[in-house]
Every structure is written in C-alpha cells, then in structure tokens.
C-alpha cells in the first residue's frame, strides 16, 4: 500500500472519455494537488474489462482507492459522477476501503436518478457505435463537437475523439441502455460529504438546471458552479477554470447554513420557568433543535424533498426551519390526522405525485424544473394549484389533476402552518402566552396551577410575553440577501 498525499484527487471520466481526459486538469493543478485519473471498465486502458453497471464500475474504482491510504477527494465527470456518488454513499456508510473521502467534485454529472437524456439523442448515439470505421470516426468527432460549448483545441478534440473510438462498444451501449437509467436516487440518499458541482451553461441535458434539480438534492453541503460558454466537457473545454474553482473551494471555509430560528431571551426564560409544564418544555426544546442538513427523506425521495423545500420556501418563508423534512418524517410514520380527502391517494403518495406534477408543470410552462424557477413563477404555479387550475397532462408528467392538486395544496399549507406554530420561535413571534398557563402539579388531577387570573380584553398579566418584533428570525428573503 502506498501512502497518499493529503490532497489526492481521484478522477472518473465521462462516457467515451478515459483517464487521459483529466490530463489538462492535472497539469493545471500541478504542485497543488495530486491528480490520479482512473479508467472505468470498457474505456481507455481498461477497455478490455467488463462490469458496466454503476456498482461494477464503483467496485473497480474502490479497489484502486483502497490500494492507497490517506484522505482524498473524488472527481466524477458525467457518467463518472454517478459512480462517484455511489462511492461516496459507500464511504459514508463506513466501507473501510473508502475511508478518508473529504470532498466530491462533480462535473456535468449524471445524476443518481435516471439521466434526462432525450430518446432521439440516445438512439442516435447507439446507432453508429457498431458501424463501419469510417462512420464511427465521423460520428465520434461529431459527438465530441456536439458536447462542447465553443470548440476544443484540435489536440484535445483529437484526443477525445480517439478515446471514444477506443471505448468498448458494449460499454458504451451498456451505459446508454442501462447505466444512465439506473435509479439510485434513494440509494445515494443525502450525502454529508462537501461537494462542488459544476455545470456548463451550454450543456444540453446536464446543465445547471438539471444539476440543481437532480444532483444538489443529494448533497447536504453542495455548491453549484455554472461555467458560462461551456458545454458538457468542462475538463477539456476550460481545465484552468475548473482547477481554479476547485482550489478556491478547497481554500474557502464552508458557507454557514441558516441557523435554526432563535428563541428570544424573554420567551426562553418563560419556557424555562415553572409556569411551563415539564412535558411541554421538553417538546418545545426538541422542536427548537436544528434540523439535520443531511436529513434523508423516508417517504419522499431526495429529489422530491428538494421540490417540497422549494414549495415550503414560498408557503412558509422562514429560514432555518426545515418544514419539508419534518413533514416527510411525519409521512414516513404513516400516522395522519385521522382523515383525508377521498379524491387523494394516501398522504405519502399524494405528496409524491403532487410534487412531481408541480415539477412537470414548471417544465411544461417554463422548460425548467420547479426548484430553479424564480419565486414569482413558483408562486404563480402554486396559485394555479390553489385555484384548482393547475392542469398537466400525463404525457407531460402530470400525475394529479387540477382538483386533486387543489386538495393536496390545502393539505400541504395546513401541514406547514401546523408545524410552524408548534415551534417555540413561532409562538414567541405571536407573543403566545398559553404555554405559561400550566406548569406541573404532583396531583393526578392537578391543583394549584396558575392558569390565567385575567381573561378580559386588554388585561395582559405582567408575565405574558409581547409579540416578538420584527420577528425572531430572518425570512428566507432576508437570509439570502445577506
């Protein structure tokens, strides 16, 4: 076993690429980071090797990583990113061979969900890989050119074209027919590993929108960088920019997340006082605890959780309170509130179908996923849902009709509002005194509890809290303006 330098970067290439794809980046990072590019089965020097599923590819890479020790980062480009995400999942799950993973660099990554590649493009790519050498040579070059934003230097283009032609056609087809379609969304779950996500502004299928909708939901500490003018082949198109961004990110301290809603001191004193029942005090403290940024959804999948977070950011614009995660946790218990609209399926199914419908509506109206739409556009879609006018045909991904979307959005608003007002910071914002009506009594049928001596209008008791102004926490808008 050889010793790894502390900043080793293992690199996994795109479909048709090879370890050589990373040579320009390695040169750009020379002296700062040790770059170890690896060939995936069926590509580059590993073209004779089999095992084309995402897991099989990950196995090969895991073996290479295990051969060295020490902390490391993992970069994956397109197809390689999906492999990197599975490796990160294995590392976080405690695979000893993968210990030491300190960061992910995902470049134009193929997401854990089935890749959004149009059928015609897929068929086209499958059509020539087994053709005669002349056709292959022509199409391989066309493929490379179609995947860049501007144009590559001729030596890079020649190298990339040559790599495509070197690839085992079986591996190429296996990715297009199976690997890209593997649904690893729940399996990858939500990763804690810090991640830098790159997208080329000119990338047709895996640009910034796709990364925001399908990759970032898996990354508790993910940061999206869009590179203008770049297509799908960033490591070849702008290796220097990629290197700079990686080094910047490594040097920069992690962005702080929104703190959980703070309890104003006066209200915290009330909670701590003997006016508050002990069981209630514990519950309030529990509800005030920070949400786990890497919360792994149980009822929804991570992509759906991201859509729900976007919905709740509009419905309940309060920073630092992950209402979506709390709703998901409730959905996962299967415990509801005792009824549901007959028109809707079971709560968890209704949420999933509604969120997918909302996303489909965003794509139908704006050709963009819901999570990246500007707030006013998100609001417009939610308003249509509220009015019972959000219609998305099933052919475009609609799963609930307009009436059902209206029922679901009513349920979702209520779920959010109920969770909000169970939070002590929200109660403080109201100046709600009810928590102080009780206290503890040793008697089974309580005696001597304080309650309220005054119940008339305009007769606050001295201990009753005033509404906390302007509010105990920043709204999301204030938080993002910071």
């Amino acid at each position: 076993m050889t010793e790894r330098a502390p900043d080793t970067l293992f690199c996994l290439h795109f479909l048709g690429g090879s370890a050589r794809t990373w040579t320009p980046l390695a040169e750009a990072l020379a002296g700062t980071m040790r770059v170890v590019p690896l060939d995936l089965p069926g590509f580059g020097d590993a073209r004779e090797e089999g095992g084309y599923s995402v897991d099989a590819m990950a196995d090969r890479i895991a073996a290479a990583i295990a051969a060295q020790s020490g902390p490391y980062r993992l970069a994956g480009h397109s197809m390689g990113a999906k492999v990197a995400l599975i490796l990160a999942r294995r590392a976080e799950d405690g695979d000893p061979n993968l210990a030491g993973l300190s960061g992910l660099v995902l470049v134009s990554g193929s997401p854990p969900s089935p890749e959004p590649i149009p059928d015609d493009r897929r068929s086209q790519m499958l059509s020539w890989i087994d053709a005669d050498p002349e056709t292959r040579a022509r199409e391989a070059r066309t493929f490379v050119r179609a995947n860049v934003g501007g144009s590559l230097p001729s030596d890079f283009e020649n190298l990339a074209t040559d790599d495509v032609l070197r690839a085992a056609p079986a591996a190429w087809k296996a990715w297009l027919n199976a690997g890209a379609d593997e649904d690893l969304c729940r399996r990858v779950g939500v990763l804690r590993t810090p991640a830098l996500v790159f997208a080329g502004s000119e990338d047709a299928d895996l640009g910034p929108d796709a990364q925001a909708a399908l990759t970032l939901p898996h990354l508790a500490h993910g940061h999206l960088v869009t590179v203008d003018g770049v297509g799908h082949l960033l490591p070849l198109e702008q290796p220097d920019a990629l290197a700079r961004a990686i080094l910047d990110h490594v040097a920069k301290p992690r962005e702080p997340r929104a703190a959980p809603p703070a309890i104003p001191p006066g209200y915290a004193d009330l909670i701590a006082s003997d006016r508050v029942n002990s069981r209630l005090r514990s519950a309030l403290n529990e509800r005030a605890a920070a949400d786990d940024p890497a919360y792994t959804p149980q009822a929804l999948d991570p992509v759906e959780l991201a859509i729900l977070r976007a919905v709740f950011a509009r419905v309940l614009p309060v920073a630092g309170l992950d209402v979506a995660a709390r709703v998901d946790a409730r959905l996962a218990t299967g415990r509801g509130d005792g009824w549901r609209f007959m028109a809707l399926p079971a709560d968890d199914k209704a949420y999933r179908a509604a969120l997918r419908t909302l996303d489909a509506a965003a794509r139908a109206a704006h050709e963009r996923p819901f999570v990246v739409l500007a707030g006013d556009r998100q609001d417009a879609l939610l308003t249509l849902a509220q009015k019972g006018e959000l219609t998305v045909p099933p052919s475009l991904g609609g799963r609930l009709d307009a009436d059902r979307m209206r029922f679901w959005f009513e349920d979702a608003r209520a779920d959010a509002a109920r969770l909000y007002l169970s939070h002590p910071a929200a109660l403080a914002r109201l100046g709600f005194s009810g928590i102080g009506a009780g206290g503890d009594s040793p008697a089974p049928i309580a005696q001597g509890l304080p309650g309220f001596a005054n119940t008339s209008l305009d007769t606050p008791e001295p201990w009753e809290p005033k509404p906390w102004e302007p509010g105990p926490w920043k709204t999301l808008a204030e938080e993002s303006a910071r």
Partner: protein
C-alpha cells in the same frame, strides 16, 4: 384515570353487558348499569391516559384524537381526527369543547313544524329530566337565568367570560340580540361528581380541546367513569372491538376484540355500541349486523359550523379562558329565515395550531401574508355557529375498498350541504359579519367548517325506517343497544354531547326496566 383497583372480570364469565366505547354515549351507560349492580365491561379502543399527560400543547394532544384514517368525500368534505373524534378512556370527551346547550324543543318536531327533516321519536319533555340530571351530575356552569328558557337553572355560576365573549356581548347589545354566559360543562368552582375526584374550579388555561389537566372540564374520566368503576365496572383500554359471536337465536353472545395484539372474546348478555357515529356504523357494516332496514350508515350529519373571524385593536389574547364562553340562541328560529331550523352562535377563542390550520386551509393564506396574519394572533377573535343539518340521502357512510392495518375496511363519509344548509349558512354568515362589524372588527373573513359526527343509525318507531327504537335498542337483535350520536334522526342546532349523555341515561334505564 386510575384503574388500579377496579374489579376485573374473566373473559369466560358471561357479563351482563359489554359497552363498546367510553365517551359521552358509553360512560353514562356504564355508570348506570354498574350502579344497578350489573357486571359490566367497557372496551375502549384507545389507551388509558392520566391527566398528568395533558401538557397544554396542541401537538402533544394528537394522541387523544382518533387518527385512524377516514375518507372524506362529498361536496363539503368533513375533517375528522381532532375536529371531532377522540380515543382513550373517556373517548372524544377528552378533547370536547364542553359547550352544553340543551336541544331546543322545536328542533325535535322539525318535520311537524316545517315539513322538512324528521321529528324525533321522543319528546323534549321526556328528555328534560335527563338533561337536568346530567347537568347536575357533571357540574355544569351557566347563567343564573337562561334567556331562552325561563325555568332552567344551572348548578354552578358561569365560567369567566374571555375576550371574544366580551366582544360578542358588546356586539349583541348593539344589535338588540340577547346573549348569555354559555352553559359549560366546566366547573367554575370546586366540585365533585358522585363517585369522582374533587375538581378545582377552572383556571382559565384555554386548553379544553387538548385534555384538561385540572379536571375542571367534565370529561368522562373524571365523572361517569369513576362512578362506574366505583360500582364495579371494568374498563379495558386498548381493546378494539371488531366482531360479535351470536347464539342460535341470533342474539349476541360475545364481543370479539383485539388487545395487546391478541384476539379475545368477552361473553355477555347484552351489548351497548357507543363508538360514535362513524365507528358504530362501521362496525355494524363490517359485521353485517342489525341492518335489515338498510339504514346503517345513512343520513350522516355534521353540523354547519361556520366561523367568522376579525382583527381588533384590543389585546384579546383569545387563548385565555374557556374558549366559548358566550352564547345566543336568538337564531334558533330566525324570523326572516328561508330555511327550516336554525342555529346558535358562540364566541370563539382558538389556540394557535388549530387556528393556523384553519387559516391555511380555510382562508387559503400562504407565504408572507400567512406569517403576517398569524402574527396578529393576540388581536384576533371569532364567533361561530352550530346549525341544523337535515338528514339527506346523499350523505352516507359506507365502507371503502381501502383497508386499515387490521384489514378492516376504512369508513368513507360522503357529506355535503343541501339547499337548507346553504340558506342557513348564508343567513348565519351575514348575522355574524354584522356582529363582528358592530364589535369593531377589521379584516373580517369567513371560515367554512363542518363539526360533529351524527346520524347513521337513526332511532325511530318503525324497524323498516330506523336502526334502533326510541330507546336505542336494535329492532333486529334485542340484546344490542346503541348509545351515541349515531341514533340522532336529525342534527338539532345544539352541540350534541349533552343530548348524547341524556339519551344514554335513558337507554340504560330502559334496559334495566326491561329486566335485561
């Protein structure tokens, strides 16, 4: 409640009666039968809570609501769970509002009066003594004189008025409408029901719907159930009844139930089904019993329970005090009505989560407007009605094709307003808006709402048209009795619990009078 020293009956022993459900319908029956020396066992689906668990919080109170899923359809889908259905020893009475108007005599003769709805098969005169007994036993607080019933007297002085009540009183005065302190089954001073614990006067905490920590509210677990247990009744918590065993004559010989994951069987001479207007018909439909009339599940009713909300300059702090401390019955028969029956109006204080739920659903607010509006909580107050709903063919409880975790089909409830309810609602909404304007409210809005669960096993004189006779006894199975809101032939304008308890006493005493 404390069940440590209660008498335990063997499952092999044939007890005189099994009572299914321990709420307003079951608890009084259990007490009356036990006091008469009968061997009685109550099966309660929910756990046995002690008041120590009631913690002045809405979310923690979820455990006392019946949260097994029901499917709500129809044009006015009704919310269940915390809105009207409870679980635990004491049933829905653990979270009831304790607002106890008596039914108006005219409501029991609605068909004779208006040609609409149905008449009850019992007279108000027959019911009155039972009302009086329940009020005296529970310790109902109310006004010294009741404007709409000169002879009525309440055992305890009224509970304190709160902010919304003061606002409503002022508005009623301005509009020439009579009002009174609400009759409330909440003791305004220290009180002890026969056989029950000493309960201190209400501390005005405002959490009636979350379980009363002090016992001031007359839940069954501090009133009829302790009396029952003191006379030898047994209460089995977490016992879900799901079937019956019948003898050769078709009479019920045993109740089948699940407890601690085990199937059990209690032999008995009679059964009182007191599971409420959803679970009672569900169990009968599930077992296929007592439905020769085809009426089981039919004529489901929820009350028209529309509310009007407004913002006041006053610091209202509506969470303080008994939530519904003022009433007017001036609209039980409005002079200008274009509908049959009428409604009562009550003042409303609501705790935050319940209120936020209503605002998000009913007012449809979200985003910053939602946060801003909820932020005015301490300046908000409401009024609401409880209004007559006529029985209607379209409103029906059936079994869904979906099953619960036990494999039992879920209840499906189709409910919608018809012309009469819609007209009543329009009338009431205008009256309430006018009142709130007179009270000085701004930003007035209307919350459409349906409350309570009634009907589905109606009582009547004719076994072809009704499930039970006027005393609650099944026409088909003579040792099966029903005592809960399911037997109501029409909804009445009054909130139902007091009437359910009064009928329960009457049913139990009839059973005793017949010599079992």
């Amino acid at each position: 409640m404390n069940l440590d020293t209660m008498r335990i009956h063997s499952e092999d022993e044939t007890v005189d009666a099994v009572v299914i459900g321990t709420g307003a319908g079951g608890a009084p029956v259990l007490a009356i039968l036990a006091a008469a020396g009968l061997k009685v066992v109550a099966l309660e689906a929910g756990p046995n809570f002690t008041p120590e668990t009631f913690a002045f919080d809405e979310t923690l109170a979820d455990e006392i609501y019946w949260t097994e899923e029901r499917l709500s359809g129809g044009s006015t889908p009704e919310a269940f769970g915390g809105n009207n259905s409870g679980t635990g020893v004491g049933g829905s009475m653990l979270h009831w509002g304790a607002f106890v108007p008596r039914a108006d005599a005219r409501d029991l003769r609605l068909h004779t009066e208006s040609g609409e709805g149905v008449d009850w098969p019992i007279s108000h005169d027959a019911l009155r003594p039972f009302y009086e007994r329940v009020e005296a036993f529970l310790g109902v607080s109310g006004p010294r004189s009741y404007p709409w019933d000169a002879e009525r007297r309440y055992p305890l002085p009224p509970v304190r008025r709160n902010g919304p009540a003061e606002l409503m009183a002022g508005a009623c005065k301005a509009q020439g409408i009579r009002w009174a302190d609400a009759p409330a089954a909440v003791v305004s001073r220290d009180f002890k029901s026969e056989g029950g614990p000493m309960r201190q006067g209400c501390i005005n905490c405002g959490f009636c719907h979350q379980g009363c920590r002090t016992g001031a509210k007359a839940s069954m677990d501090v009133t009829y159930l302790p009396l029952a247990v003191s006379h030898g009744a047994e209460i089995r918590p977490e016992s879900f009844a799901h079937g019956f065993e019948r003898d050769r004559d078709g009479r019920i010989a045993a109740v089948l139930y699940t407890k601690d994951g085990r199937e059990r069987r209690q032999r008995c001479r009679a059964v009182f089904l007191c599971a409420g207007a959803v679970e009672t018909p569900r169990l009968l439909l599930h077992t296929g019993l007592a439905n020769g009339s085809g009426q089981v599940g039919r004529n489901y009713m929820g009350h028209v329970a529309t509310q009007v909300w407004g913002t006041f300059d006053h610091e209202v702090r509506m969470n303080r005090g008994y939530p519904s401390s003022l009433i007017t019955e001036d609209f039980i028969r409005p002079k200008d009505a274009d509908f049959a029956g009428g409604y009562l109006i009550q003042s409303l204080g609501v705790v935050p989560v319940t209120f936020a739920n209503a605002v998000a659903r009913g007012r449809g607010l979200w985003g910053q407007p939602l946060l801003d509006y909820l932020g005015r909580y301490n300046h908000l107050a409401g009024i609401g009605i409880n209004g007559e709903t006529l029985p209607c063919d379209a409103n029906v409880l059936t079994l869904s094709d979906e099953t619960d975790a036990r494999g039992m089909r879920k209840a499906r409830i189709d409910f919608g307003y018809s012309t009469n309810e819609n007209r009543l609602n329009v009338h009431a909404t205008k009256v309430m808006r006018d009142l709130w304007e007179a009270a000085g409210a701004t930003d007035i809005w209307v919350l459409e709402r349906v409350a309570h669960t009634l009907g589905t096993c109606r009582m009547g004189h004719d076994g072809d048209m009704a499930v039970v006779d006027p005393h609650g006894r099944s026409f088909e199975i003579d040792n099966l009795w029903i005592s809960d809101g399911s037997t109501f032939p029409s909804s009445l304008a009054a909130n139902p619990a007091l009437t359910i308890m009064a009928l329960a006493l009457r049913t139990a005493e009839r059973f005793l009078a017949l010599g079992r």
